[in-house]
Amino acid sequence: MKPTNIFDPNYFHKVVDCQWACPAHTPVPEYIRLIAQERYTEAYMLNWDSNVFPGVLGRTCDRPCEPACRRVRTEENPVAICRLKRVAADNKGDIAAYLPKVPAQKNGRKIALIGGGPASLAVARDLLPLGYEIDLFDKDPAGGGMMRSQIPAFRLPEEVLDEEVNLILDMGVNAHFNHEVTSMKEMLDKNYDAYFVGTGAPKGRDLELPGRAEVGPHIHIGIEWLASVAFGHIDSIEGKVIVMGGGNTAMDCCRTALRLGAESVSVVVRSAFDVMKASDWEKEDAMNEGIPIINNHPPKAYVHENGKLKGVLFDKVEAIKGDDGRYTYEPTGEEVFMECDHVLMAIGQDNHCPWIERDVGIEFDKWDCPVLDEETLQSDNPKVFFGGDSAFGPENIIWASAHAHKAAISIHLFCQGKDLKADRPPEGVNLLSTKMGVHEWAYDSNHDPSARHLVPHADPAKALSDVKLEVELGFDRALGAKEAQRCLNCDVQTVFSEKLCIECDACVDICPMDCISFTENAEEDVLRNLLTAPASNKEQDLYVSEDLKTGRVMVKDEDVCLHCGLCAERCPTNAWDMQRSVVHVPQLGSYSAG
């Protein structure tokens, strides 16, 4: 293999599995260290910079970082990254001094943001410090989009959401709430310098089964029903409730229904339990509240009598797991009738932009998603950019933040008449030694073997009687400090200098995880099997040195390295050094950029 280029910004970025997995590339280990130092405000701002809504995300994020966490590979359970984010948000001090300054003198460019959800708000935050004038339009009475209308208050308290939404609105957004945009053409006629569409995926799917027309009033589209609850239009539901669907919306629907007085609630899913789209923790929370999840039951028909819903008829199928891990479903011939008074339909949502005329130069694909450049998020109409769920279909909040940063850069370049690709700021990486003394490092290198700490929950009886009472209490400072110790500091990298190495094997002998080998070089597939411990996880890179004096190379398997620094401690010549890698993901208007 060729020697590894550690100055490629992606190389060490990939080693920081959590940051790499995060769509917004939040520098997770760095903010966890700040939490460990009780510097909650700085930890919060580091988050705010990357993902814009730390308080919201610390409660509701889909957490792609956690399955990626190295602890999953070295032990079993990841660091509770999401809950640590909340610790930063809950304990932060006054952030005013850290916020980017918005100039009074505007730059003369006007941008329209359509939709007031996370994507649009994040674009506003990125552009305002550069002097842009921002007009935001949303059909709802308050900002936040789906964060407000679809996430129940028992998961995300209103005051947390208000705080982070208002922080951005108060930077000087001209917000037009209760203002539904019904024509893109009209908007384009207003001659803004650029447009950002962040209207989400607002159309909840319905299911056309026999009897659907007759039982109309008893079937509710999940996200619409949740929005009505959020805005206070619905405050109760009576009788037996069936929630159809296996995603996070289904989990929110069933738990909300239980709190609004339903006699019984069950979730019925057509597929198997482990392929349900809902996050594991959301399934757990629902089940812990006593809600049964019934899998492998595709619905067949609504059963009704005199226009009143009696229940739903399901087929029962058998899920057979193939060698490739995929399920196929065999009919069993058995039919199951479940009695109910209401059905909440949470089987997915679609993009839906009927208000964008199809002759304004914006192309749509067959799924009704706009045709976009993935890097710039620009549509075929060069003035119009998309982000969040409205760009590529339903994702989650953290993707909205990630899209927004990209789109803001594109809009900024576009307004300056620059090329959206060639002139894009590059990614970069800095490496800073953490060596402070012979055996002292600027990070806590000691490995903490503790198991993941559990988050305390509110008293179940109280929680189920109040739709606004937050269920998860979050870590307090002490528990947060303990959990922070579990982070392996994957951003403190093992950096190897060939010229200094005397090939004494000290690092090989001390490495607790058998990551380091000195061996003859070979092609990657061969090399992976020549190492002290075979490197079978091909998703993780091998760090290969230049040729050493003996003609061998140093090969380090990045897979299960604990970043404990013992290789550097035992190295007599400082050929190993522990260096903090700081990845620079280009972004506008960040607090660290001033």
Partner: protein, 351 residues
């Protein structure tokens, strides 16, 4: 010296041996030697060899004297028996341990000072008595603990860190061991675990005195340009003659060598040692030729490594003394003191 403790967690796919232990179960505490010390690699090789042999850790006795080398038994096999004795007196203690319990695997770790200076007499006699043990010398040619004086194995003309040459001829422990009747003699290099680990395995399974001289550079005092025991010098001057692969009884022989150059030696427990000669003319079963070879190469400035000599039908001290099969420390009073009648019988035999 390292202050953070070595994490207990290990590689999720670390192999387990026949008794269900990983290599990590054969480790000791974290070394307090200088970073980069060759001795730590020797300890790591011992850990690996013992794990490969699937011997339960409590069946080992590790013995040492004084010096950097003699600290190392703390850094391997922390679930075994151990005795850190007086300077140069490890052989006495090892002799006692082996006589008392012949079933223990004795590992003596000594250094060039401990064995070639203060303990030279003890070294000579334990070899002569053919105690069944593995005797490892971590040989760095210097007194590291007292800051770098020449030891008795330091080559004439080799310089100190400050450039002063050594005026005396070295003691070559390999030649001495050959002369004094060791039945297994090898030399290796701490920086070459591929060679060292099978030698340690073979030495542990060998019945009789197995002596391995391991050149183990002292990073702090003897790893400079004028040294003949530095990593660089040894790498440039080693001359492997006979490589050895240890093949446990349970394993099929799959290693493939050019015909005519390999020889399989059966070990007492049914396992196999496969020797592959790098130099066709070398005979690892001829003590006199081996001695000649080692010394003539040495005169040319070469360091001969590998399995240098192995007796084909070795005897150990217990064979010579014709002791009972059962370990002496396990004999009960009724056997040890057979009573008046037996004494009378013995006395009668002398009349």
């Amino acid at each position: 010296m390292t202050f953070v403790t070595k994490p207990r967690v290990h590689h999720p796919r670390l192999p387990v041996n026949e008794i269900g232990l990983t290599r990590r179960d054969y480790e000791g505490s974290v070394s307090t030697l200088c970073a980069g010390c060759g001795h730590d690699s020797v300890s790591a090789a011992i850990v690996q060899a013992c794990a490969n042999l699937s011997i339960p850790p409590h069946q080992f006795a590790k013995l040492s004297g004084i010096g950097c080398s003699s600290k190392t038994p703390s850094y391997f096999l922390n679930k075994s028996h151990g005795f850190n004795s007086v300077h140069g007196r490890m052989p006495s203690v090892a002799t006692g341990a082996n006589l008392a319990n012949r079933e223990l695997y004795c590992i003596g770790v000594s250094g060039d000072g401990d064995s070639a200076s203060i303990g030279l007499g003890q070294f000579a006699h334990i070899v002569r008595r053919r105690i069944n043990m593995l005797y490892v010398v971590d040989n760095n040619g210097t007194y590291g603990l007292t800051k770098g004086q020449f030891s008795a194995t330091n080559d004439k003309g080799s310089t100190s860190k400050r450039g002063v040459p050594n005026l005396y001829d070295p003691i070559d422990l390999v030649s001495m061991a050959l002369q004094l009747g060791a039945s297994f003699v090898a030399r290796s290099f701490s920086g070459d675990k591929k060679q060292l680990v099978p030698l340690i395995q073979a030495g542990l399974k060998h019945k009789g005195m197995a002596f391995i001289d391991v050149i183990s550079p002292c990073v702090a005092f003897n790893n400079h340009n004028g040294s003949t025991k530095s990593y660089e010098y040894v790498r440039g001057h080693t001359q492997p003659v006979v490589g050895a692969d240890y093949i446990p009884e349970s394993e099929e022989i799959t290693a493939d060598y050019a015909p005519g150059t390999t020889e399989d030696v059966k070990m007492p427990d049914g396992s196999m040692l496969r020797l592959h000669k790098i130099d066709d003319d070398y005979d690892p079963h001829d003590r006199v030729k081996a001695l000649n070879y080692v010394q003539s190469r040495q005169a040319q400035g070469e360091v001969v490594t590998g399995l240098l000599y192995m007796e084909e039908d070795p005897m150990d001290c217990h064979d010579i003394l014709r002791t009972v099969e059962k370990p002496l420390n396990a004999l009960q009073d009724d056997v040890l003191c057979p009573g008046g009648d037996a004494l009378a019988g013995i006395n009668e035999s002398y009349r």
